[in-house]
């Protein structure tokens, strides 16, 4: 029960993060690398869990799902700044405008 839930959670988190990073980092390749790094970090954590003698019970599953958030953090920021360096300024302004509009309209709703 625990293992399928873990696999499902990690996969879903990677897919959803890919979609979200596709919105915020306007490059499909960057979002692909973000998702790849999430899955890779989770696999590394699973491997180290066996090495350090942590069983995959419900507790460690919850921790694993929590730690997806941490693993998103660095990779998303790094790839976003990578894109913001290489993307031109006006295009970034365009996306910022879109994000501002989204925020405003979500407030109105």
């Amino acid at each position: 029960m625990v293992l399928p839930t873990t696999i499902q959670c990690v996969t879903l988190a990677a897919v959803i993060m890919m979609i979200i990073s596709l919105i915020f980092i306007p490059n499909p390749l960057c979002s692909l690398w973000v998702a790849f790094s999430i899955v890779s970090i989770e696999l590394g954590v699973l491997g180290f869990m066996t090495l350090w003698g942590i069983n995959l019970d419900s507790l460690s599953m919850i921790n694993l799902i929590m730690c997806i958030g941490f693993s998103v953090d660095f990779s998303a920021h790094v790839s976003y700044h990578f894109m913001s360096r290489s993307v031109g300024k006006d295009r970034l302004e365009f996306y910022r405008l879109i994000i501002y509009l989204l925020i405003v309209f979500s407030d109105k709703i």
Partner: protein, 281 residues
Amino acid sequence: MYALGMPVVQGACSTIIGVIGLAMAPSYIFITFFKMVFLVIVLGALHGLILLPVLLSLFGPGACDRSGSKKAGLSQAASCDNQNVDVVVSPQQAVVVSVSNGKLAAQYHPQSENHHYPYPNGKKHQQVKLNGTPLRKQILWRDSSIVLQNGSAHGPGKYSTSQHMYEIKIPRPKHGPLNGHGHGQGQGHLHGNGHANGSAGSCSNHSYSQSNGGSRASSRPRSSSASPAPLATPKTGPIPYGRQKLSVPVETSVGIKLREMYTNRAFVCEDDFRRHQRALQ
């Protein structure tokens, strides 16, 4: 990555320090929590600091000019519309920048037979040496449009750039500044940009590049100390070789400020420097 590397390290370290307290608790829950958070932070920091920049520079956006970005080491600034810029650092910290996208390096001043640009036309891969140490061949220009006007014949240097920032990375010369006494080949190869073509210009100053590489440039007779350099500079004429104009301050005659020699960065102008600093924040 210059701006982002240190915050990532700091964030990882602070998170681990904050979580260390959990490791001392005798409960299985807390120890498990600490172990997993520690693992995730360390692995995430390694991914973000090492794996992702490598992957993004190799296969990410702007990897179309892959060989050029590798050579220049400016992988963050790599984009598809880059131009190749040759930079020669002179001992007087003058910078010769030639936007060599095929158009600019091919410029040849018609009024002087002796004047030839030190780089062969159209050749992008050029070995530029300073005192025997090879400089980096290509330095990626961030944007495709740049207009640099050589105003040394017209007074203080003028430059007009587009709205983007430029960053030139110049490797620090290993040896000290060579004074150019012994070599007859030491010459300030100046590139008079009298043509107001408007599209792009070249901005150059006296630079004692000892060997410029390039078969064509070295095979041609250079204006050495034997050939007297013209003293007076006509307005549109070629800018003379030689050392007689070395007292001209670099920043006013070239318009390129070699910003920080020891951080290997030069910025085209003050506004670009400020803009770059703003963009880093």
